[in-house]
Every structure is written in structure tokens, then in C-alpha cells.
């Protein structure tokens, strides 16, 4: 096994398991090499995943931060690199650089109510937060998850969603944009679910991850509820080639999303998000 000499050199871990989540999303579970431990990560951090000879893309870590036995990423097949990653078979080498980036503010949020708002694949980077909250339930106030997807078939982590719904003291609401008759849940944008959630707007920390448009309208609705921009945290997405602040691709105004983010307190990016093409 190689020891990376250079921050641009990946390490390779064998793929242990592939878990089909939806028609175009799989979770890849990698295992540490014999005698080695997985590097630790904080919820919200991401890795650069490399498909041998094809390319490298940023993917959030979607597993349990307490679990040191394996490393999980949930990937949607959208193009060349994600497709190649999802073709990997058991024991084949998955190239990894990381973890990178600033995590969700779990320490600062201790004692407060927590609201997670996820859209589509945006649930993946929030799943480690859910594991953490459930493991340390007594350290937080009320907790809630609002999750929106296009169709019922696009919902990630079905079984876990069911399990989380049954956790007392964890408010889980799922909504879809379009659904057939067999869908018994909510239909419409995630913000429609806000009034159904019990929490103290003055003492809540919100973590949002999803398409930028969802972030825009959700933050507006939250501010309308009387929350301040300092209570909201968003995870941002931009093209990334290095993840170490030197390729310039991920710039978002003065920020490098790879190292100053991807998680930002909303007041730090609010003005930029209101501009087009930043």
C-alpha cells in the first residue's frame, strides 16, 4: 500500500459492499486495509473519490462517524466519474483523498433544538448528523428532519427513514413533489412542512443541504419564522479539482468552498447566494 507523499495522491481502499438506494443512487462501503483504522471524519466533511484512470469528484461521507470499521459514501450516477465509481465491484480499489472541509456545527448546537432540511441527495451529508444526534440524544433539545425528494422512488435510505420515524422524540416529515395514489405522505415543497414541526425558533439550529433553489426558499421561510441568519447553516456545492485550496475552482466570493466550507453559517454567504453566477 502506498503512503501518499503528496496531497494530490489518493489512497486506495477495497470496496466491501454496494447498497442500492434508488434507481440511480448507490452507497459504496469501503473497508480499511488489514491492520489499519479508518481515518476519522466529522459529519459534513467530504472526500475526493477517484475512479482509476477516469477522474475524481467530491462526495460527502454519509456513514456513521462513530463506526470506525468502514467508510460510506452515497453517490448519484450523473456523469462520467460518478458512473465509473458506481461500476466498482467488491474488493476493487476505491481511490480516496480526504476528509476535507468544515463540518456541521454539532458542538455549537449542543442544548439547542435541531432542524435538518434535506433535498434529494442532500440527505447523504446529513445522515452522519442524524447518527450523531441519535447517539447523543440527551445533549440536544427537540430534533426534526424535513426531507423532500422529487418522487417517492427518489427517497434515499428507505429502511432507515422508517426506523427514524419510529424514534420517539425525533420528528421526521417526508414530502415529494409528485406522487401517485399509493403515496400517503406529504406532497409539495419542504417549507410547507415547517408549521407541522414543534421547536423553539429562538433556540434552534438549522442545517440545510440540497439544491440551491431549495436553500433559497427554505432560508426565506425560516427567517420569516423569526430565526436569525446566524442560526442557519448551509452546505454549498461547486466544481472542485483539488479540495486543498489551490485549484481555484470552488471559489464562492471570498470563500473556498473546499476548505472554508462546504458548510457555512448562512450570514456568511447570504449576500452571495442572492446574486446570480457568483
Amino acid at each position: 500500500m502506498n503512503t501518499p507523499l503528496d496531497p494530490m495522491m489518493p489512497r486506495f481502499l477495497p470496496l466491501q459492499r454496494r447498497i442500492r438506494e434508488t434507481a440511480d443512487v448507490l452507497s459504496l462501503v469501503a473497508e480499511p486495509l488489514e491492520g489499519e483504522e479508518m481515518p476519522t471524519f466529522l459529519p459534513g466533511q467530504f472526500n475526493m473519490l477517484y475512479a482509476f484512470g477516469v477522474g475524481e469528484v467530491p462526495i460527502s461521507i454519509s456513514g456513521d462517524p462513530q463506526e470506525r470499521g468502514h467508510l460510506v459514501h452515497t453517490i448519484r450516477d450523473v456523469g462520467a466519474v460518478s458512473h465509473a465509481l458506481l461500476q466498482l465491484k467488491r474488493n476493487e480499489p476505491l481511490g480516496i483523498r480526504g476528509p476535507f472541509g468544515k463540518p456541521w456545527p454539532l458542538d455549537q448546537a449542543r442544548g439547542a433544538d435541531i432542524l435538518l432540511i434535506a433535498g434529494g441527495i442532500g440527505l447523504a451529508p446529513l445522515r452522519p448528523v442524524i447518527y450523531h444526534l441519535l447517539a447523543q440524544r440527551e445533549s440536544y433539545g427537540r430534533i426534526a428532519l424535513l426531507y423532500g425528494a422529487r418522487n417517492p422512488a427518489d427517497l434515499l435510505y428507505h429502511k432507515e427513514l422508517e426506523r427514524w420515524r419510529r424514534v420517539p422524540d425525533f420528528q421526521v416529515r417526508v414530502t415529494v413533489d409528485h406522487a401517485g395514489r399509493e403515496w400517503l405522505g406529504d406532497v409539495g415543497v419542504v417549507t410547507r412542512l415547517l408549521p407541522k414541526i414543534r421547536l423553539d425558533p429562538a433556540d434552534t439550529v438549522v442545517m440545510l443541504c440540497g439544491p440551491e433553489i431549495m436553500i433559497r426558499f427554505s432560508t426565506l421561510a425560516l427567517l420569516d419564522m423569526g430565526m436569525s441568519t446566524k442560526q442557519l447553516y448551509v452546505s454549498m456545492e461547486r466544481n472542485m479539482k483539488c479540495a486543498i485550496g489551490s485549484c481555484g475552482h470552488c471559489q464562492f466570493g471570498p470563500h473556498f468552498i473546499c476548505k472554508d466550507g462546504p458548510v457555512f453559517r448562512y450570514d456568511r454567504v447570504e449576500a452571495l447566494l442572492k446574486q446570480d453566477e457568483i
Binding site: D6, P7, V54, K241, S246, G248, Q251, P254
Partner: protein, 380 residues
């Protein structure tokens, strides 16, 4: 680089030849200005004879021309289309090679020893540009190993500018024209009808060691005064000027200024400005494989925020309009850079002005959008 306080000396023009030879025998590839294809570029030189002696350049927005000088100055021009980043941060670089056998991947290392460069004629703005790129590539925890090696191995002979070019504004950016530190040696060309000599300041132990083998005399008060006067004259004759007071804030507060639309109408989004800029550092990564898919390479090449794919994320480019790309470039250079790295990203070298095919002038655009004299229009 440590500072070695040693009194400046004066050497004759021909001693410069010796200096170049000494560097070569110490294993350095000496890189200096040389005339090629109607421009003064940076490339390996065999001897001082390769320098563009007796040539100068004339620069204006969208225009660069070389011309004969009335004298035999060795450094009587300013900066051309190349910068030292070409050597320290190469346009294309293989980062690694790997091969795969079954499920095992192993990296092979490039065995070629890294090049030791001696840079001859590094202007003050360029010293600042190198220091700025150091901030990018030598970040704690993520140091670029190859860059560190090239940087540590380089020997820098700075040059104090005896003349300012038509697009220079280092005086505004406080990056010149005098080289004040971060060099091994610094030259000032002292040229008049009856003399052709160089004042040499010594900036490091390596510089001092090299000077041992070179015939020199102690600089007189008169020599120092002549050099000082030259520099004062250069500073007073900058082709361009930029008022940086409050510039960062005003640029960051005016993303919707109508001037962005006006400049976008002239900008070709050709990326010339970012390629000639000595501080622009952006790169893209290319991963390739052989046909069988058993060996792979990672290459890094210069990229530019003016390219469409630069900001591509699934679904399209974030910055699809020329306006947004020009705004990214200018705002990054003159404003965001300060937040990111603690200094402006512009050293006032003027290259982007001279090499812009439509003559867009960063100092003019910045003044229109961000100077105290022009209150924000359309502020939103």
C-alpha cells in the same frame, strides 16, 4: 530567505558573464529574458549574450512592441508575456503515475531530479508575485511537494527597474519598483555614456557566497545615490495608476454595477489575462489511463476562470456569462484575494493590460467600479 547584511558592491558589465558561468557550474539552469518572436520572454540562457541587449518594449492597452534602444542596456525593458510562474508552477505537470494489477494499485515515482533554476532579472513586482503564489502552494498541511522543491532550489537575481513601462503600476500596488527582500542578489543597471556597471545588493548567504568569485568593488555613496535616483524616477513615471483605498470593499459591494455589463461587451473571455498574470494560480486536474486501463496518470494544467468548464457543475456552468467571469477575475484579484491570502492578488505588472486583445485596462475598470471617486450605481 535569510537576510545577510552585507554592503552593496559594484561589478562591471562583463562580471555579469562570470556570474552566469558560476551559476551554471553550480548546477543551475539560468533563466533570463531573451528576445523571441518579437517579444521578450523568459527562457534558458547560455550566456549574457542571450539577453536582449539594446532592446526595449513599448506597451499600451492591447499593444506590445519591441524596439531598438539608443543605448546598450541589458535590462532596458519591463515585463513581457512570460512570468516566472512558468517555471515554478509549470503550465502542465504530471503529478503522479500509477499502475494497477488486479486490485492492487502502486505509484511509480518520477526519478528525474528536479531542476535547479537561477532566475536572472526578477523584477520587484515579480518577487511579490512569487511570494503570492507561495501563499497558495505552501499552505500548512497541504504543501505542494514539487513546488516546495522548485522554490527551495531556486536562486533569485532580482532587478531594480530603471524604467517603468506604459502599463506598469507597481507603485500603486506597493510592490515596486525597488526589490526590497526575498532575493539572493539584486541588480541595478548603472548605465551612462562613460559607464556600464551593476550595483549588486546581497540578500542571502547563497548570494554572498556566489559574489566571492566575482570581481567587485565596494559601492560608493555616489553609486547608491545614482541607483536611488533611478528608482525614484521609475516610481514617478508609472504608465498606470490605481487608487486602492477602499477598493476591496467597493468591489465586493458592487456585483451589479452596470460597468460589468459594459466591460463584458468588450471582453472576449479568451483567458489571455489569466495566462499572462504572474499570480493567477488556477489549475485543472486531468486523469487519464492507457487503453487497457492498467496504468493511469494525473496531470495538472493551468486553467482560467474565463473558461466555461471552470465552474461546471452538473447541469451547467455556474458562471455562464462573460460578465460573471470578468467579475470573478477582477473581484478575485483586487478584493477576495485580500480575504483569502492577506494581500491583493495584483502586483501591478500590467501584463493583462498589454496582452488583452481588446485593450481592457484593469486599472480603468477597477476605478470605474470601485474607486472613491465613483459612487456605486445600481447598488442592490
Amino acid at each position: 530567505m535569510e537576510t545577510v547584511p552585507k554592503a552593496p558592491v559594484v561589478i562591471a558589465e562583463k562580471a555579469l558573464h562570470t556570474l552566469v558561468c558560476e551559476l551554471q557550474s553550480a548546477g543551475y539552469r539560468v533563466i533570463g529574458p531573451t528576445l523571441r518572436d518579437q517579444a521578450i520572454i523568459y527562457d534558458e540562457i547560455d550566456s549574457v549574450a542571450d539577453l536582449p541587449q539594446g532592446w526595449t518594449d513599448e506597451q499600451q492597452p492591447g499593444s506590445y512592441r519591441v524596439a531598438k534602444r539608443p543605448d546598450m542596456a541589458l535590462f532596458g525593458y519591463t515585463v513581457g508575456p512570460h512570468s516566472w510562474k512558468k517555471f515554478l508552477h509549470p503550465p502542465r505537470l504530471r503529478l503522479w503515475q500509477a499502475s494497477r494489477t488486479g486490485n492492487e494499485v502502486s505509484f511509480s515515482h518520477d526519478e528525474t531530479p528536479s531542476q535547479k533554476y537561477a532566475f536572472l532579472g526578477v523584477r520587484s513586482c515579480e518577487l511579490h508575485a512569487i511570494a503570492i503564489q507561495d501563499q497558495v502552494f505552501l499552505q500548512a498541511g497541504h504543501e505542494d511537494v514539487g513546488y516546495r522543491q522548485r522554490r527551495d532550489d531556486s536562486f533569485i537575481i532580482a532587478l531594480n527597474c530603471s524604467e517603468a513601462g506604459g502599463t506598469c503600476f507597481c507603485a500603486s500596488m506597493k510592490t515596486g519598483p525597488q526589490a526590497t527582500n526575498s532575493f539572493d542578489l539584486a541588480l541595478t543597471e548603472l548605465l551612462s555614456e562613460d559607464r556600464h556597471e551593476f550595483l549588486v545588493e546581497i540578500g542571502s548567504q547563497a548570494g554572498a557566497d556566489l559574489m566571492h568569485g566575482i570581481a567587485s568593488r565596494e559601492a560608493s555613496a555616489g553609486d547608491l545615490e545614482t541607483a536611488e535616483k533611478l528608482l525614484a524616477q521609475t516610481a514617478a513615471n508609472m504608465g498606470r495608476h490605481l487608487d486602492t483605498q477602499g477598493l476591496k470593499e467597493r468591489l465586493q459591494e458592487n456585483p451589479e454595477h452596470r460597468r460589468w455589463d459594459e466591460v463584458a461587451a468588450r471582453c472576449l473571455s479568451c483567458s489571455n489575462c489569466t495566462l499572462v498574470c504572474p499570480t493567477c494560480f488556477c489549475t485543472s486536474v486531468e486523469d487519464t489511463a492507457d487503453l487497457a486501463g492498467d496504468t493511469a496518470e494525473r496531470w495538472r494544467r493551468w486553467d482560467s476562470c474565463f473558461n466555461g468548464e471552470f465552474s461546471y457543475i452538473h447541469g451547467g456552468s455556474v458562471r455562464s456569462s462573460t460578465k460573471s467571469r470578468y467579475r470573478q477575475w477582477l473581484t478575485h484579484k483586487l478584493a477576495h484575494w485580500v480575504d483569502q491570502f492577506g494581500s491583493s492578488g495584483c502586483v501591478g505588472c500590467g501584463r493583462c493590460i498589454s496582452w488583452c486583445p481588446t485593450g481592457i485596462d484593469i486599472t480603468e475598470e477597477a476605478a470605474a467600479i470601485g474607486s472613491a471617486a465613483s459612487p456605486p450605481e445600481d447598488a442592490s
